[in-house]
């Protein structure tokens, strides 16, 4: 079993689900990221999802678009992110994954990216625009170096596509909760339970749900049916509103502690 799956199992054994906070690396700079990672872990993050900023974030709503813009304006590069994460890793007990568009991985070099993930202690990679059909080369590199690959599924994914992703997923499956782009929403879709059940029927790989999840209450709703919840835009918004670096770190830890409470199921 891979490290990410063992995190899901350990949480389940404690009567919890997995909380996956997302931050954009380099927002507003990499020093902030280095300070935020331990704060998120201290607050109770089980897996931290680190977005590598891209010039053309097709899947993202305004919040994460702006975060990407701030990070790029600060000169953030994939190599810079990798170095920052490698340095922060030793002090972190939680899991780490990247969320990254294919073009950045492609320019980095698929093999090199997998090697550097393994050496920096990054457990898994979610390539946002890499469907299973195009994933052979990446998956070969990732598998060779023990890096897990996370695939997206959506409410619109057909049973055939669910099978395709389930057959390949090695870390967990990231289920997008709704149509549309990333961003805070006021409610969790009612059909979520059915969506999760549809995927469960195909695979034993854990299922985390993301997109639009902002509050501990929503985390709890998601955790009633899935193995974990991803919180992105709401956290990024909260961090962006902080007055200074200390306030940002404090806000991160506080918010994760609140959200983590929503993952307790027993």
């Amino acid at each position: 079993m891979g490290r990410l799956q063992s995190i899901f199992e350990a949480c389940a054994a404690r009567g919890e689900r997995v909380l996956v906070p997302y931050i954009t690396a380099g927002d507003p700079d990499l020093a902030a990221t280095a300070a935020l990672l331990p704060a998120l872990a201290a607050g109770g993050a089980d897996i931290i999802e680190i977005g590598v900023p891209f010039s053309d974030p097709l899947m993202d709503g305004p919040t994460i678009q702006r975060a990407s813009h701030r990070a790029l304006a600060a000169g953030t590069t994939p190599h810079g992110v990798m170095a920052t994460v490698a340095q922060a890793r030793a002090g972190l007990g939680c899991g780490l994954i990247y969320m990254v568009p294919f073009n950045l991985v492609w320019r980095y070099g698929l093999e090199r990216f997998a090697v550097d993930c393994a050496q920096s202690g990054v457990d898994g990679v979610l390539i946002t625009d890499l469907p299973p059909e195009e994933a052979d080369d990446w998956q070969a590199a990732a598998d060779a170096h023990g890096v897990e690959t996370i695939y997206l599924l959506a409410p619109t994914s057909s049973p055939e596509r669910i099978r395709l992703a389930a057959a390949r997923a090695t870390g967990f499956i990231y289920l997008i909760s709704r149509r549309g782009v990333t961003g805070v929403q006021s409610s969790v879709p009612t059909e979520l339970a059915d969506l999760v059940a549809g995927i469960r029927a195909q695979t034993a790989v854990p299922i985390a749900v993301g997109f639009g999840i902002a509050t501990a209450q929503q985390v709890a709703q998601v955790c009633a049916v899935a193995d974990g919840a991803v919180v992105g835009s709401a956290l990024v918004d909260r961090l962006a509103a902080a007055a200074d670096s200390d306030a940002r770190v404090a806000a991160a830890e506080t918010m994760i502690r609140e959200l983590k409470a929503g993952t307790i199921i027993s």
Binding site: D56, L72, T77, P78, R107, D129, E133, T156, S158, I176
Partner: protein
């Protein structure tokens, strides 16, 4: 001299490309978030159902004839030819299409497709505004609500087209993200589509993007090359020696080229990218000339990006060519040697605009002026023979830029 053989393309070589997953050789494909996959699958199967349906074809052909004004003529530009001092220059007059450019061919094809599958709302992106105008026109014709995404910079450069779209009843949304040009408008249109896919069809304007868009746009634009090839043969009893078209995303060029694919190398195909201020300045829009393969907007194709993989801003005086990517079939054509890709600067395009205006009384779109500029060079180089240029659009929309660039308001 080129031989008068039937086009191989017409007998199926092009029909076999792309493969099931949208690949043109190694290029193309579907590099998109999972949220879009079902939509693209649905579009591909809907398109497959109408592609060879004679009733669909007949309906589209009717609109192309009665509404667009097809077939557009080919025209021997004698005074331009004399000025160039070499090969004869022929113009395929897409500038005479209703709405002023070739974009209407694809917009009508796709809106008929949307209507067939019961979509009630239309969205599109636009760079120069020609595709936006064409889409707004088609939406007006079929009484469908329409939203056009346009980079904020382009809404300024092409203010007249913004007004035209509004007059046609479309909502124009200026996109203030990134470079505020075409690529950002495409990002925003995709975000809308991902969110509203149930009732919305996205009329993609160029032969780029994820499968099946490059194929659909090519198929709806190949009427240009099919007509031009037949017209030239009928007039001359032979094929031209060279075919020239400008390339931004590449829709007019792929439509022009694909019927001639089987005639290569007897017919040489030249795609003309925008060299902007000059390739050496880095301020250009020429991914096929100096870019490298990468993934933007759902396809693997030549791309302008930096060493980290961040997409770089393109530069061209022509908003329609101002795009850092290019359609995947052009990348395939480039690497397979089927077409050659060259680049023309802003200044050369402006010079060609003036030359065509004064020698023939035809004001080309700045995009198309890139093709004319290269044809002028090529004509002199060839000395004799025939060059067929796709004059993809007319220059009315560019008058604001031309007034400034050419000092037309001075007494």
């Amino acid at each position: 001299m080129a031989e008068t053989q039937p086009s191989r393309a017409a007998t199926g070589a092009v029909a076999a490309r792309p493969d099931q997953l949208g690949h043109f050789g190694v290029f193309g494909g579907r590099w998109v978030p999972e949220t879009m996959m079902a939509t693209l699958d649905q579009l591909a199967s809907e398109y497959a159902a109408v592609r060879d349906d004679p009733a669909f074809r007949a309906e589209l052909d009717g609109y192309l004839r009665d509404y667009v004004g097809r077939p557009t003529p080919i025209y021997l530009a004698e005074r331009l030819t004399a000025a160039a001092g070499g090969a004869r220059i022929w113009l395929k007059r897409e500038d005479l299409c209703h709405t002023g450019a070739h974009k209407i061919n694809n917009a009508l094809g796709q809106i008929l497709l949307a209507k067939r599958v019961g979509k009630s709302r239309i969205i599109a992106e636009t760079g120069a505004g020609q595709h936006g105008v064409a889409t707004a026109t088609a939406a007006a014709l079929f009484g469908m609500p329409c939203v056009i995404y346009m980079g904020a910079l382009d809404t300024q450069r092409q203010a007249l087209n913004v007004a035209r779209m509004r007059l046609l009843g479309a909502e124009v949304r200026a996109v203030d993200a990134g470079s505020r040009t075409l690529k950002d408008a495409i990002n925003e249109a995709f975000r809308d589509w991902i969110t509203n896919v149930e009732d919305t069809h996205y009329i993609f304007g160029t032969a780029a993007g994820p499968h099946p868009f490059p194929m659909i746009v090519r198929d709806f634009q190949r009427v240009i090359g099919d007509e031009a090839r037949a017209q030239f043969l009928e007039r001359n009893g032979r094929l031209p020696d060279a075919v020239v078209a400008c390339v931004g995303g590449g829709s007019n060029a792929i439509g022009m080229f694909c019927p001639f694919e089987g005639d290569v190398p007897g017919v040489r195909l030249y795609g003309v990218e925008a060299a902007g201020h000059g390739i050496e300045t880095g301020l250009h829009a020429a991914p096929l000339s100096v870019g490298s393969p990468g993934v933007l907007h759902g396809a693997l194709s030549y791309l302008l990006d930096d060493e980290a993989g961040q997409v770089t801003e393109a530069h061209s005086i022509s908003a329609g060519l101002d795009y850092p990517g290019v359609g995947p079939e052009h990348s395939f054509y480039r690497d397979a040697g089927i077409a050659q890709y060259v680049a023309i600067t802003d200044q050369e395009a402006l010079d060609a605009t003036q030359q065509l205006a004064r020698s023939e009384g035809i004001i080309p779109a700045l995009e198309s002026a890139h093709a004319v500029a290269y044809a002028l060079k090529l004509a002199a180089e060839m000395g004799e023979g025939d060059i067929l240029v796709n004059l993809s659009g007319r220059g009315d929309k560019d008058m604001g830029i031309l007034v400034d660039a050419l000092g037309l308001q001075k007494d």
